[in-house]
Amino acid sequence: MATLATPIPPAAPLHAEAPPSYADTTRDIIATLRPPGRKYYVGMAFVLVGLAFGAFCWGYQLRYGLGVTGYQPPIFWGTYITTFVFWVGIAHSGTLISAILYLFRSGWRTAVYRTAEAMTVFAVMTAGLFPILHLGRAWYAYWVFPYPNFRGVWSNFRSPLVWDVFAISTYLTVSATFLLMGLIPDVAAVRDRSLGWRQRLYSMVSFGWKGSDREWHHFGRMYLYLAGFATPLVLSVHSVVSWDFAMAIVPGWHATIFAPYFVAGAIFSGCGMVITILVPLRKAFHLERYVQVRHFESLAKVILLTASIVAYAYATEYFIAWYSGNPFERSSFYNRAFGQYWWATWIMLTCNAFIPQLLWFKKIRTSIPTLFVISIFINIGMWFERFVIIVTGLSHEYEPWQWSYYVPRWPELGILVGSFCWFSMWFLLFIKFFPAVAISEIKESLPPPVQAGGRR
């Protein structure tokens, strides 16, 4: 959206030959909202089945207790927390691309930010489930909120978990607001091109937006400030999540590097997921004119950067463990690389540190299929990063008598699958109800229509 400050310059003409006109933009993008075909419904059915299975697994777990999972003391945290951190991480690039790049005025953002933002909101909605799924008594999850209650006890604000509660709920609220605000002018455009209940719905959602100068004026400011808020929020949220571990004394967790390390990892995984989502989306909706190869290349560059930061963080962890001379840290990290969980560690290193290095080559950066494959590896690698930190950390702690080994059981895996389906369900609904590419912003970055001759 616009600011009254210096306008966003189109980094380069959207593409070589004739750019789409305002009219083309409106038409092409709103075309994505056409009634879906069979493929869509098949996909949706698949997703709903997966979700139902996940729900069943949770019900089973609630009935009999967490014993149905693979938890094996002292490994008290496992797949659920791993997946929680994974989804929070996914959530981050959305806001990054949207807000930070907005503040930096980088032009390539326009094409991808709406998808990224939607992904953020749905990823947070998914992540938010896991701390609850993980609880021994999920039905009392609301006790973590500091509300006046008959028990007379408030939340313990010294607990990183309460920080989580605040950070995640704030993040969900703000990123959802950010998405909705950005949607207003586009929804207005859709409203003006639809009839019946859809029109009524969209005029509601657009709050009767008319695009008057006055509206644009305040809107632009609001959007700027939201972006200003969202940026530090992103950094804080994943820092807080990382402190769930860094604040503990578990060897392999208790490290000051965690906040930046996790933030970089989050952006890394998030950009990976954006590519994973955008590639099929672009294909399905024929948005090649708007979401272009150079946008993917820019994403790839961010991935390359963050992958290198993450790789550096891994190296630092090992160095510190060795350099500190702390026998527990050393033992923990040795076990991480060569102990019973070596496989997880090496999956992580391969996917996150080595494979992304391919992106140094422009050929690979600009090949959509290759990028897609790499992005899948990144998703896998980043899930395992969290698994390695959490599980190997706990499996090999201070008390040698209590060393143990954990592998997830089917209810956990069922819920893991279910979470992906839950995420996909929202996304599938979103792309059929709202423009997945920002109409007005594309227009903003296009050369405006001018009248030959002007005044006669």
Partner: protein
Amino acid sequence: MERRRFLQVAGVAGIGVAAGCAPTSGERLLPYVNESDDLIPGIPEFYASTCRECPAGCGIQVKTREARAIKVEGNPAHPVGHGRVCARGQAALQGLYDPDRVKQPWRRTARGLEPVTWDRAIEQIATALGAAAASGADRVALVTGADSGALDAFYDEWLAAFRSHRRLRYEAFAYEPLREASRLTFGVAAVPEFDFASARYVLSFGADFLETWLSPVEYTRQFAEAHRYHDGRMAKFVAVEPRRGLTAYSADEWIAPKPGTEGLLALGIASSVVRQGKADLTGAEADRVRGFCARFTARGVAETTGVAEDVIDRVAREFAAARPSLAVAGGVATQHRAATQAAAAVNLLNYVVGNVGRTVRYHAASPWEKVSRYRDATAWIAAMQAGAVDVALVHRTNPAFTLPKAAGFADAFRKVHLTVALASHLDETAELCDLILPDVTPLEEWSVVEPAAGVRSFVQPAMTPVFDGTRQAADALLAIAAKAGKTVGRGAATARELVAAGMVPTALDHALQHGGEFAAAPVKPVRLVPDFARVVYRAPAFDGDAGGEALVLIAYPSAALFDGRGANKGWLQELPDVATKIAWQSWVEVHPDTALRLRVANGDLVTVTSPHGRVEAPVYVYPGVRPDVVAMPIGQGHTAYGRNAKHRGVNPLDLLGADAVDASGALAFCSTRVTLAKTGRQTRLATTEGSARQLGRGIARAVSLAGALKGEVEAGPEATLTDAERAAVAAAAASQRERANIGVYAKPNPKWELTIDLSRCTGCQACVTACYAENNLPVVGEEQTLRHRGMAWIRLERYYEGDTAGTDWQVRQIPMLCQQCENAPCEPVCPVYAAYHTPDGLNGQIYNRCIGTRYCAANCPYKVRYFNWWDYGTVGDPYFAFVEPLNWQLNPDVTVRTKGVMEKCTFCVQRIRFAQTDAKVRKRELADGDITPACAQTCPAEAIVFGDAHDPSSLVSRLKQDARGYHALGMLNTKPGVTYLERVITQGEA
């Protein structure tokens, strides 16, 4: 009736919830119809009695609440145990409340067991007895366990009434060799009384006196007294046995001779003493001994036993120098074909250095002299086989399980016309019987026993019988006699009257209040018989050929299950084996070298084959056995005996030959060679062991005696911190604490702390079971134990130190429980304050606040928080752990935790609060020692001390000042409230 009674109680005391009654169960809470005078709801009552879980007969006090027995504690006034109880004693309650108990009389028919009324059963028996008595003498057999006192006499009288003397007091471990050896060496067929407390040097030939041998609780207490480090001195303990068990874990030195050569080694040491001129003998006796000993040259002994000459001489020197010393023979050393000779050799050794009469004392009477020998049991079997027995009654003993299959008990028993079991549990023997009469358990009966010379120890019911249908055996026998028209019991109509016979009421009351009548028995002086030389060492034979892969099998009594009678109790099944830390299972201990040779690893299923049979069990690779030996625990492998015992593990006795007896007529448990064959199949061992090495983390520490004398201690990782760093850390913590002291925290509060003296702790794990009983811990079963989900709030960690290749390695054991840290990592991470710090220094855990994030457990460096993975506390749940009537045992003062909450040790906070309230009510100050957590109360070694660390005069405050005091993982600055005192190990010369 019991049910209603229970509900009345529940109504008054409001223990409904604690007893696991879900509101949905629709039960109503009723008030008393008639008030009971001596029952104050909420106030426990204690009944002094005697533990009958093994023949040792420790004095106990049964804690009852609202007419329910809920806890077994030691009776401090009792000379046996001195107020301490072992794990098996604690678990007596689970025998009492076992859901699989015999609740009514049963009769065996072609269609299986059918219910029958008491009257019909008694009539049938009386008739059979009449017929038997009519058809001749000794046609009736009455078999009990080791018994003594009034009821024992009554049984004989009762039997005589039916013209029979076939009385068997059958025990699997009857110490025949000790009795026979004493007869052969000193002319007294008795088991002497051993005085570990005053011994300055203990030399044990295989005796597991800290586990099952004779009187383990009392001996543990005495041994700890002697072996603990105090004001610069401690006794040295050398263990001589081919398999290193828990007892030998406490040893300063482990000598592993070839199995069966222990006796020769004892003679070798005695000879060495004599050679060194250290013998405490005079005159002709000295010459005789010298002459006898001349036969055993150090070299010859060394070759046969596999123990180096210099070791023999050194041990002899030390043994003779440290007066009084004590040598004991037991366990595997007295369970081979040369057992009697070994025991005699040890007697001689004691005699040579003048221990007899000092640390080895004989009395006029011995509790063991009347106990039957294995040979008597086989004779009885032969008689039955020959059809010489018409009626056989079996009471509280299980020969069908504890006799080797080869003995052919079952077949012979079936030949008896009428077999009757007076049994509280349906064990293997009861299952063979034609009639099963429901007996009460020792906690519901009247009796009096003589566990030690001069001790008349009373057994009284702690509560009305759990099941209406049950009747004490003696009462049943009285009824049977009456029905058969015999007058027995000298007019006594009940077991109670039999016990009280000949006592004035005041004396009886006094005895019941104090647990019995205890008098010092005069020591009976004994001399070496002139012809002791008859008993000369002869190498024992082992069945099976020596060649090839043959390994000598050691079948040893399990410390938890004893001879198998513990196997029906969940607490004992779940108690990890004291040495191998395996629960719920059977296993074969194989030396690492042997395992390498046989290419077997932990969990590999192997068939163990002897000339007499074969069993299949998983391998446990264990450095504590000689490479030429494999060991298996006795106690598992039941084919009956309740849900916990049935079809679990294997019984190594199936591998033994029935005729493997020694000179005393004892069964030789270590008498056969076996071969191991891989099945190719695997199983997971239900072990609590993570890593067997503590990798220099200083969790369980020890220092050499020499070092301790110099004030040295074993340093842990925290030693790397500089003083400046320590000061800085301390200062930071202090300033933080400062800002935490507001409200109730600012008041002058006590600070509850614990000290555990590792130089006393033997690792017996009595504390673990005591904790189960006190804190309503659920039994989780084998499957969950396999997944490390045991709920024991206190556990014994066992680490090896040193190179386990030879015998020169040490075992470090440490009881690990919540350390109640001042800077507890578990507390600040809890989002809902379920974990918080109480003003009196405990890590409070509020179960009903907990939502189960498990962050506290993840952040606890000691890993002493336990999570309810399943719903152990809710009636009707598939995982409900307190099946009726086990829930009767639940401690009303402790919540039963439900699904999804974290739980942990809080130093028995319910006891702290009770004592505080009690003191307030009595308007007096709380004194040091008023509060004792369950673990400390039962600890036979008295290693655990609890108290207020803010009171400088309290014992705990003084103990934690000890130079040996340290904090586990102290470098984490968690400031634990548990101070461990380093173990002290005597190395080299004592």
